[in-house]
């Protein structure tokens, strides 16, 4: 399966009479996009704001971040199973608006939502401060149930990203990257001397607003399976969750998964990137056992030499992570796990809830309990009144002058477990 990603670089975003891309500036017709999102009867009010890198703006509570894209050639469309039909994606050509994103905000859905500061010390901790953001502020109708609110806001983000992506349908990209995965046997014949490596991606699927969707299927309802990496790059996996902001994978993360991208970069040179096994993180012990048995079984069946495992979220998924690691190692396949840490504010506590001697190669995205002070911003998009109650916040987090003292946990993408951010720790 071969995918061409065409990047159109966006350096500014402005409101305009027509939604279009011109001279690296994305112009957005505000009324048109607001009206499109308002078609969903679950919203009382929809507003649109812009937030550019360096501006004194705080966005909170942030639910999802989505990169605008459009299918240019080949089967399927963007966000299959959500916006487009469920045709297989991951081949042909897709154009990407690089440097901008849709951010969904508004009345909080679940208590685990995040903060994006566009400037100041907080901006260093979130990758989304570097993007030109089109922020949807959606207020739900009174009495809307939480899970319906989640769904409505999730879909609003995809709709807006699809709407914006359309501007690039007939444009020539500034840069093109090509990614290809060949059928396994052909790939092994082509690179017989290279170690066969796959990626096990754990998807947050605890339910109660902690869900991820694959071609529209709720990941907790599925057994682990195999997916082409280019399908992930082309929008097959999307976020539907309100798990802790620092280490949840937004839809933007899925589309730009750095584990996938880096494995492609080494493919055919240092290793043979066979493909991706996706698995879930469910709340029943039997599910955890069954799913980790399955990933180990698939890894063995594929004849792998090595596996990278990434986690999403923390706490009980630490057990899924350790089970995956242990069971795959027991098949004689080397593993590296990618996680983050909840090691207390001083970093002295045990980092993960579970452990095993076989988990002997660990990459960390940083300690989510570390405390940071975010100075006041000139403008708030959304509402800061929730910061005392979001995960990572505490009673007294929000100060009178508008500054915020929180754990990194509250910052969207701060300790991402795909390695999307800059934090890590090294042992010497």
């Amino acid at each position: 399966m071969r995918l061409e990603l065409g990047y159109l670089f966006i350096e500014d975003v402005q409101f305009g009479e027509e939604t279009k891309l011109e001279n690296k500036t994305l112009y957005v017709n505000k009324d048109e996009l607001v009206n499109l999102i308002k078609e969903d009867e679950h919203f009382e009010k929809v507003d649109l704001e812009l937030a550019r890198p360096g501006e004194s703006i705080r966005i909170t509570p942030v639910k999802d971040v989505v990169e605008p894209r459009v299918k240019v050639e080949g089967p399927g469309g963007v966000f299959p199973g959500m916006i487009s039909k469920v045709d297989t994606v991951g081949s042909g050509k897709t154009n990407v608006l690089k440097g901008c994103a849709v951010v969904t905000a508004g009345k909080i859905v679940g208590f685990q939502e995040g903060i994006i500061d566009m400037t100041g010390p907080g901006a260093d901790y979130t990758p989304f401060s570097k993007l030109n953001n089109v922020v949807l502020v959606c207020e739900p109708k009174e009495g809307l149930k939480q899970h319906e609110h989640e769904r409505a806001l999730r879909m609003a983000g995809f709709k807006a990203a699809t709407y914006l992506g359309e501007v690039a349908k007939n444009l020539t990209p500034d840069e093109v990257e090509i990614f290809e995965t060949e059928p396994m046997l052909e790939s092994i014949n082509k690179y017989p001397e290279l170690p066969k490596v796959a990626y096990v991606q754990m998807l947050q699927s605890q339910g109660l607003l902690h869900d991820t969707y694959v071609y529209g299927v709720d990941a907790k309802e599925s057994l682990p399976t195999i997916i082409y990496p280019t399908e992930i790059m082309d929008g097959a996996i999307v976020s539907g969750n309100c798990v802790s902001a620092c280490d949840k994978n937004t839809t933007y993360h899925h589309l730009n998964n750095p584990v996938v991208k880096d494995l492609f970069a080494k493919h055919g040179k240092e290793l043979n990137f066979i493909g991706v096994i996706i698995t879930n993180e469910n709340v029943y012990l039997a599910d955890k056992e069954r799913s980790s048995n399955w990933t180990a079984k698939l890894a063995e069946f594929l004849g792998l030499d090595g596996v990278l495992v990434s986690q999403e979220g923390f706490g009980n998924p630490d057990t899924d992570l350790i089970m995956n690691c242990k069971k795959i190692e027991q098949k004689g396949i080397k593993t590296v796990i990618i996680t983050d840490e909840y090691a207390g504010r001083d970093g002295a506590s045990q980092s993960l809830a579970d452990a095993d001697p076989l988990a002997n190669a660990v990459v960390t995205g940083g300690n989510a309990n570390e405390v940071i002070t975010l100075p006041p911003m000139d403008k708030i998009i959304g509402d800061t009144s929730y910061v005392d109650t979001i995960a990572g916040g505490f009673d007294g987090s929000l100060k009178e002058d508008g500054s915020i003292v929180v754990e990194l946990q509250a910052i969207t993408g701060a300790t991402n477990e795909l390695g999307f951010n800059k934090l890590t720790a090294k042992g010497y």
């Binding site: 029943y284 057990t319 350790i322 452990a355």
Partner: protein, 77 residues
């Protein structure tokens, strides 16, 4: 908490869903429960069934509490 209470000489039963974590942290008597969001109940059952389920879990825990153990033990029944 389990370890600190036991250190004070009082036996503890850890009732939890993810028993591997309980094993890792060093609980001695472990009773597996239903699910992480609802360890001691099951919203899918009707009232009477759920009451019976809860009683069984508590009785199993009490039995575990009064059972001598030589090593970390999971009380499946």
């Amino acid at each position: 908490m389990v370890k600190e209470i036991e250190r004070a000489g009082i036996p503890v039963v850890h009732m939890c869903t993810v028993t591997p974590i309980s094993m890792t942290v060093g609980a001695n008597r472990i009773v597996p429960t239903i699910a992480i969001p609802h360890p001691l109940g099951n919203p899918n059952l009707d009232f009477e069934e759920e009451k019976s389920l809860r009683r069984k879990l508590v009785e199993r825990a009490l039995k575990a509490l009064t059972t001598e153990v030589e090593e970390q033990t999971i009380f499946e029944e």
